[in-house]
Structures are given as structure tokens and as C-alpha cells.
Amino acid sequence: MRQLLVLLAVFSAIAVLPAVITSEFSLNIVIMMLYAALLGQAWNILGGYGGQFSFGHAAYFGTGAYAVAVLQVQLGINPWIGMVAGALLAMAVAAFIGFATFRTGLRGSYFALVTLAFAEVLRILSNSVDFTGAGVGILIPLAPGPGNLQFETKTGFFFLIWSFTLAAFLAVWWIGHSRFGASLAAVRDNEEAARALGVNAFRVKMGAIILSGLFGGLAGVFYAQYFLYLDPYIAYGPAISVESLLVPIIGGMGTLFGPLLGAVALHTVSELTRELIGDVPGISLAIYGALLVGMVLFLPRGLAGIAARFTRRNKPAGTETRHA
């Protein structure tokens, strides 16, 4: 209960930001942080709570993004409906990948590789068919208006991503306090033991990947509506997959607030480097990579791990003993 109150307090405080921040530039940074937190929380459900490291979360992101864009541009379907379709399709893709991998018992490094390969297959497919605009990409026409899921000001987009992200965090809060979450942590910590205790590991992992796909898809829907442009490399490329896993790893895997901490830290660092070095190609991603190496080497429990060391009460679930 206490954690839920903290969560609601944090999100209420964030909701006040558009009233306080007047510059569009700064509000954009806050929006990008919330977006990264959503993406990271999606990964965290499967990777942090479920222990299944996906290297291809772009599969869900890209599906959500392409769904809303293609339905709008090719069929003239309202993006609000497209949003629902995008979320459902992303869940369907997640269910397919989950079924294919969990049914055959793939885990660990094998799971990571197969998810990466699925994302690559989707990237090549979206590059080869016409209705996605192939390599040229797809442009959503500018038509500001809440009915079109586009907004005149950044404040409108802010509340769109704020509500998506809040939903993801509430879902993860629920996971942390439900029987489903306990089963998921049990499967992560020792799948054989969990099975022996009667946990249906397959069903639990399917639940986690589908939920993860839902929020990954919503992140894609937001991205498409916010930037109004997609191509196969943006939608299904490795950058999104990397950002999805980097955010919770920096913040703290398997913790509720980890992805928020990670998103804030990551975007602060990337803004700082942009200030200091300028927009040089490669540098910001090189720093992302260095952060990933540094975190795994020196702070495997992320920023939340430091916080937990001092407070002791927000102890991340299940990080004490793990069997790989």
C-alpha cells in the first residue's frame, strides 16, 4: 500500500510539471523521460521480474508504431482505434514469440538471441513490403486535434504519455503484490523449483511477455503519433531494443521505480553530452554502451540497488539469491 501511495504521489508530482515548465524544449525532455520509462518498464516486466532477457523488444514497439501509422495512412482509420489495434497486435506478436520460445524451453542467452532474430525478421519484412512504405518509411499527415491523437501543444502529448506510463507502473505495482508476480519471481529465481511447487511456468511467462508486449506496443503508438514518421530501422532496429533494456538495468531490474530512475538518469546523461559535445553521430550511443558495461561491472543492481543499500526497506524482490 505504501508503495502505491508513493507511486501515485510521484506521478501526481510529475503531472504538475507542464504547469511549471514553460519551455517546450524542457517539456520535451520530460516527455522523452516518461516515454523511456514506459519502454523500460515494458522490458522490466519480462526481464526484471521474469528473468527472461529480451534483446528484441523493438518487435513490440515497432508493431504498435506501424499499426497505428499504417491504419491511419493506408486505410484512414482513426488513430484512437489504431492505438487499440496497435496494442492488441503487439500483444499478439509477443504471444507468438513467447509461445515459440517458452514452449520449446529456450532460456537465458538462447532466449535473448531468438528475440533479437525475431525483431530482425520483422525489420526485414517491413523493409520489403509496400504498405509500410518499405525503406522510404511512412509519414503520418499532420492534423492536430485530440480526435486525431495529435496535439497542438506538447502538454497534450505529455498527458498521453503520462497516462500510458502510469498504467505500466500500476501494472508493475500489481505484479509486485499479486500471486502472478510471486509465481513470476519464483520462475525467475529457479524454474525447476517453481515447477515442483506447482507453478505453471509456461503460463506465467506467457502472461509476462504479453503484458510486456502491450506496453512496448503503446510506447510505439506514442512514438508514431509524436514524431509522425517511421521507417524499418527506427521501428524494428536495435536502438529501441537496447534502450528498452538499458533503462531498467541502469535504474534497477525487478524494481518498481527502477525504470523511472533509469529513464531520468539516461536522458540526463544524453542531454548533458549533447550540451558538452554537440550532436555528433555515435557519441550518445557510445555512452549508452559504456553505461551498460559500467553498470553490469560495478552496479549490477542498478541505481535502485544503491537506494536500497541505504534505506533497506525498498528491497528489490528476489535479488538476494539467484540461480542462473
Partner: protein, 304 residues
């Protein structure tokens, strides 16, 4: 193809097909031998350290830039670079394993996967920063020479690469089978505790194995560049292909990597021929996913 220029005879309708397929298969085999060489390094590292080196493609790219740099700045022929680049790559691999990768596991394989992923991102983007995304090639007198074989005209650098890959695989096999280092590596791969007990310096041997795997990339880079190009992202294409070969051949299996490499080379060439360049690549990923799902121990590997 010369045969395509001849007026087609009404009776030999099957002939033009074969005239395209044979060169395509041969091309696939030569390309596949290079894939095999790259996969050999990956499978060696996996077999000993039980880690999947995600930075393999990025390190191949480093090797290619090294060959390119030596050629363009110092005028060294890519094949003479075989004396310089593989030893340098070996040292780099040794240092990476000893300094970073070996320290990252904290008892979980996933951590190593993440660290090598992080390394690949760093290396690739530093290359992007230094070299920009321009495509670079080397200009050698033999780049466009061809060799005729079974009616097909194969580029000379690809034929050299094929034999170079065979020689490298043989040398590596002899090293593993006949030397003390090879015995130590095999002992460590089988039984870590036992190897430690008989006095093998595990940290050192792990790093030697990683170094050898990366040195294979150095050889591959020298053999590849005369008929290929280098960009900061060039490793991407190779890394998934190498993973596919390794899982197809069985993780840790040498012979499997060689056969797998040739199969994938031919599949890619055939896929490109019948489905077009872009869709043809999907064939590789489909093989990859199917093998991982239904036969993760590979064609020749043992049960995992």
C-alpha cells in the same frame, strides 16, 4: 554470365538455370567459408567460456578497419596484413576478456551477454564517430581478377579466402589437438574445477581462448576486405549469420561451424537468387529460429 549472352536454343531451357545456379552455389561456398571462419572464433569462445560473444561483429569491423588502415596509410597489402592484424586482434581479445568481460559475470551468464552487447555498442559507435558512415574499400591489383571453375568465373580474392579459411581451421585444429595450450583449453572447457586442481591458470587460459577467437576475426578481416567493404555497421550482418552457423553446427563444435558456414553461404546465395537480396536474408533468420527452437544442440552438437 557469358552463357546468358548466347542465343538460347529452344531445347535447352533447363541449361540457363544450371548456368546461373552453379556459379551461385560456388559463390555461396566461398562466402560460406569466410562465415565459417568467423563462426569458428565464436564457437571456440562459446565452447570454452560458455558465453555468447555479442561483440563478435563489432570486433570483426575493428579488424576490417585495421586492414583498411594498413593498406591505405602504409600501403600494406591485405594479405601481408595477415602477419600484423591477427596477432593484434589476439592481444585485443586477451585484454578484453581479462580486463572487462571476465569480471562482469557475477555468476550470471546474462551479465556477460549484456557486457558484450555494451562493448559492441561502444566499439561500433566510436567507429561511427571516427570514420563516419562512409563505405571504404581497398584497391588491390587483383580485386577484379577471376578464376574459372566448372564454367563459373569466381573472383580471385574469394578463392583465396576459401583456401585461407581452410588453412586457418586446420591450424586451429592442430593447435587444439597437439599443443599444451590446446590441452589446457579443452580441459577447462570440460571441467573447470578439475583444470584448476591440476594447476591450470584459468584466467589466463580463458583469455587465451577469447584471444584466439578474436584472432580468427583478424584472419577473416584480411581475407574478406579485398572482395568486400567496411562501414561501422558492417558487423551487424555478420553477427547474426555467425550465431546461426554456431547454433546450426552445434555450440562449441568445430566441424559443425565449418559445415554450418558452407550451408548458410549456399542458402544465402540461393535465397538471394530466388527471393531477392533483402527477402533472401530472411531464410537465414528462419533457419536460426527453427534450429534454436527445435534442435538447440545443433546438427552435430551434443544435448545441451
Amino acid at each position: 554470365m557469358p552463357s546468358g549472352l548466347l542465343p538460347s536454343h529452344p531445347l535447352d531451357t533447363a541449361m540457363p538455370d544450371l548456368a546461373i545456379i552453379i556459379p551461385s552455389v560456388l559463390n555461396g561456398i566461398t562466402t560460406g567459408s569466410l562465415y565459417a571462419l568467423i563462426a569458428l572464433g565464436l564457437t571456440l569462445i562459446y565452447g570454452v567460456l560458455h558465453i555468447i560473444n555479442f561483440a563478435h561483429g563489432a570486433l570483426l569491423m575493428v579488424g576490417l578497419y585495421a586492414v583498411w588502415f594498413l593498406n591505405v596509410q602504409l600501403g600494406i597489402d591485405p594479405y601481408w596484413a595477415l602477419l600484423i592484424v591477427p596477432p593484434a586482434m589476439f592481444a585485443l581479445g586477451y585484454a578484453l576478456q581479462r580486463g572487462i568481460i571476465g569480471k562482469a559475470s557475477h555468476g550470471r551468464d546474462e551479465n556477460i551477454l549484456l557486457v558484450t552487447l555494451g562493448l559492441s555498442i561502444v566499439i561500433e559507435n566510436l567507429a561511427l564517430y571516427v570514420f563516419r558512415s562512409d563505405t571504404r574499400i581497398v584497391d588491390t591489383p587483383y580485386s577484379f581478377e577471376t578464376v574459372e571453375f566448372l564454367g563459373a568465373f569466381l573472383p580471385l580474392p574469394k578463392v583465396i579466402a576459401f583456401f585461407g579459411a581452410l588453412v586457418t581451421a586446420t591450424v586451429l585444429w592442430l593447435l587444439m589437438a597437439r599443443t599444451d595450450l590446446g590441452r589446457a583449453i579443452r580441459a577447462l572447457a570440460k571441467e573447470r574445477k578439475g583444470a584448476e586442481l591440476v594447476g591450470i591458470n584459468t584466467e589466463h587460459v580463458y583469455a587465451m581462448s577469447f584471444g584466439l577467437g578474436i584472432a580468427c576475426l583478424g584472419v577473416a578481416a584480411c581475407l574478406l576486405l579485398p572482395s568486400y567493404y567496411v562501414t561501422p555497421q558492417v558487423g551487424h550482418g555478420f553477427v547474426l549469420i555467425a550465431f546461426t552457423i554456431v547454433v546450426l553446427g552445434g555450440m562449441g563444435s568445430f566441424v559443425g561451424a565449418l559445415i554450418g558456414g558452407l550451408i548458410i553461404g549456399v542458402v544465402e546465395a540461393m535465397g538471394g537468387l530466388f527471393l531477392g537480396e533483402s527477402l533472401g536474408q530472411i531464410g537465414i533468420f528462419v533457419i536460426f529460429i527453427l534450429v534454436l527452437m527445435f534442435r538447440p544442440q545443433g546438427l552435430l552438437g551434443h544435448k545441451v
